[in-house]
Symmetry: C2
DNA sequence: TTGACATGCAACCAAATGGTTCTATATAAT
DNA sequence: ATTATATAGAACCATTTGGTTGCATGTCAA
């Protein structure tokens, strides 16, 4: 067992992977052992175990031993961290002054919300 | 989903990188050209350009030409997608029955079926 | 026209990521 | 006691990611 104190995974990193997001969704219903979780994926149990390790290090899930099983469950704390990060950006489209600035600096018919899309 | 652009990168992937998150924070204040953005980072302009491309493809930012500049700005749409994803998990710690289940299951198995369904 | 500025893009590279197989250990059941 | 179950982890591998340099293109200002 490597130390889990130092090796902390960034929560943004942790939710970047679609497999890990699906794992989180499975755990919304109830706590599950790794073998049960991995039965929902086309990959090996070892691969899922690595995903669970990353989720654990990001404090998105926690685990506890139940006999020979180890059950994983969601942990709210890092979800709150994500929510706070998002909240920071809400001022962009909720702040009237921001909207005003766009009008002033662009001196065109900007309505701030959805603009014509530019392709690359 | 309101995306009318081809979403090559998913938004979770896009916000996984700390540089890209910092870029988003810079753009909260006002729209900026790439040279101005990259002046805030120790990496090359090209590297920042790649990050901006990923953010664009995730519909987190958009851009428009202004003379010889290309200005980038935030786009709310994908932030909303993130918020919705988070909202899905809120019932985990806001739902009193979920909390109860954990208490009960500490002794043995009791299954309360109180979950809707949701898929990605 | 010339030069400086702002960006775009191809080619390349090291490290991180997401997967595999094989082996080992601990617990449960017969 | 033996066998089946549940997990842990090492070693390895291919692809993706995040960065670089060098060069090309477009625009503004003298």
């Amino acid at each position: 067992m490597t130390a889990n104190a130092i090796e902390t995974h960034d929560v943004f990193q942790a939710i970047a992977d679609p497999t890990r997001r699906k794992v989180l969704q499975l755990l919304v219903e109830k706590e599950l052992p790794i073998s049960e979780i991995s039965s929902h994926f086309p990959m090996s149990r070892t691969a899922v175990a690595k995903h669970l390790r990353i989720l654990s290090e990001a404090n998105l899930v926690s685990s506890r031993k139940m006999g020979r099983e180890k059950r994983y469950r969601l942990q709210p704390e890092s979800f709150n961290e994500l929510k706070q990060w998002l909240t920071y950006f809400e001022r962009f489209w909720e702040n009237k002054l921001s909207k005003l600035r766009y009008v002033v600096e662009n001196d065109d018919e900007v309505t701030l919300d959805i603009h014509p899309k530019h392709d690359e």
